[in-house]
């Protein structure tokens, strides 16, 4: 067992656990959007940042991918952490303004509005990547992937056209932390010509 501190409480974890796993095991609250036990952690949303302290030294790390280590001193709610979470949520309020989940999370951090302009009022996707990971790692099909990079990044099937590779299993819709995938499924799934006559068979 590995012993360390979270918010000045002594906790114990198995080797190989992450700080997030341990914190949740003990009931410490750490927000996440891109994390799910079923898939490999990706450290994308950065909401789960925690602060490691050692004397005057301190550093922020993503708890979902940070492995536990003996004697570390973890803090889950400091001013630096709140600053990171506040800006992420404020930016998400303008990026995926249609998401009730994000509005609720933001409200928990005292944010009701955003200083940034809203360009796409219907958007709900914040590119956490859970859908692409579940499709590749759990379903084993990799029907969808992230496309492009940077601010142009999006989720889609090849050439952004519906694909027959998708079997409409619905895993991506289920794992999506907002309702973004629900509205995209028609852009991903192409019904094969033979299936049109017998949509329920197979």
């Amino acid at each position: 067992m590995i012993t360390f501190q979270i918010d000045n409480h002594t906790v114990q974890a198995k080797a190989g656990w992450t700080v997030l796993e341990t914190a949740r095991h003990y009931g410490f609250e750490i927000p996440t959007l891109c994390h799910h036990e079923a898939v490999t952690p990706s450290g994308a949303c950065r909401l789960c940042m925690v602060e490691l302290r050692d004397g005057d030294w301190s550093k922020l790390v993503a708890s979902c991918i940070y492995p536990v280590a003996e004697g570390i001193n973890v803090h889950t709610d400091t001013e630096r952490i709140r600053n990171v979470r506040r800006w992420i949520l404020e930016m998400l309020l303008s990026e995926c303004p249609a998401s009730k989940q994000i509005q609720d999370l933001a409200a928990r951090y005292g944010l009701k509005q955003t200083r940034f302009a809203i360009e796409n009022p219907d958007e709900e996707c914040m590119l956490c990547g859970l859908c692409t990971r579940v499709c590749e790692e759990v379903v084993g099909l990799a029907a969808i992937s992230t496309v492009d990079r940077g601010v142009h990044k999006k989720v889609g099937a090849p050439f952004l056209r519906p694909t027959e590779v998708c079997v409409a299993c619905g895993c991506c819709v289920t794992i999506c932390p907002t309702n973004a995938m629900q509205s995209r499924i028609d852009a991903v799934r192409r019904v094969p010509a033979t299936a049109v006559t017998a949509p329920t068979s197979k």
Binding site: E136, S145, V147, V165
Partner: protein, 154 residues
């Protein structure tokens, strides 16, 4: 710009059929055909065993890959820091006015495609424009106009 030098089969045979050669194959196909078509992408998937969505992800992640046919002449405007300070953006604006298409797009007559690039490492020549792999140093709007006129006529 396209130098049809190798058939797709020949390119596919150049490397072992493993995912690590995906980028090599995309680069070689693009070099021969000027862009990567859906058909050639499918062949690359089959060869490397990488799912199509992931090949598409790679092809759209890297800036050098083109998924549509390109213009006969390829104009790259350097927007490295030195070129930026010496007016590279002015050249971009002028190209947009003159060619009436956005960066990365091709003119309807398929003559020109223009893009900006992040530093070609020829900072002493700023602002630099690279047309069909040839460097044009200290480019001004006037020099550019001349060059485009010359290329439009051949």
């Amino acid at each position: 710009m396209t130098t049809q030098e190798a058939s797709i089969d020949e390119i596919l045979e150049r490397y072992p059929g493993s995912p690590e050669y995906l980028i090599f194959l995309l680069q070689d196909v693009q070099k021969s055909y000027g862009y990567i078509s859906p058909d050639s992408m499918q062949l690359i998937c089959d060869r490397t065993g990488v799912p199509e969505s992931q090949v598409y992800s790679v092809a759209t992640f890297y800036q050098s890959f083109r998924l549509e046919p390109q213009g006969e002449h390829d104009i790259k405007v350097c927007l490295g820091t030195a070129c930026h300070l010496k007016g590279g953006q002015r050249i971009m604006d002028e190209l947009k006015r003159r060619l009436q298409v956005e960066p990365g797009e091709t003119t309807p007559d398929m003559k020109f495609t223009y893009t900006s690039v992040n530093c070609v490492g020829a900072c002493a020549l700023a602002p630099v424009v690279v047309i069909d792999d040839e460097y044009y140093p200290s480019t001004t709007v006037k020099k550019l106009e001349k060059q485009i006129k010359a290329l439009s006529q051949d």
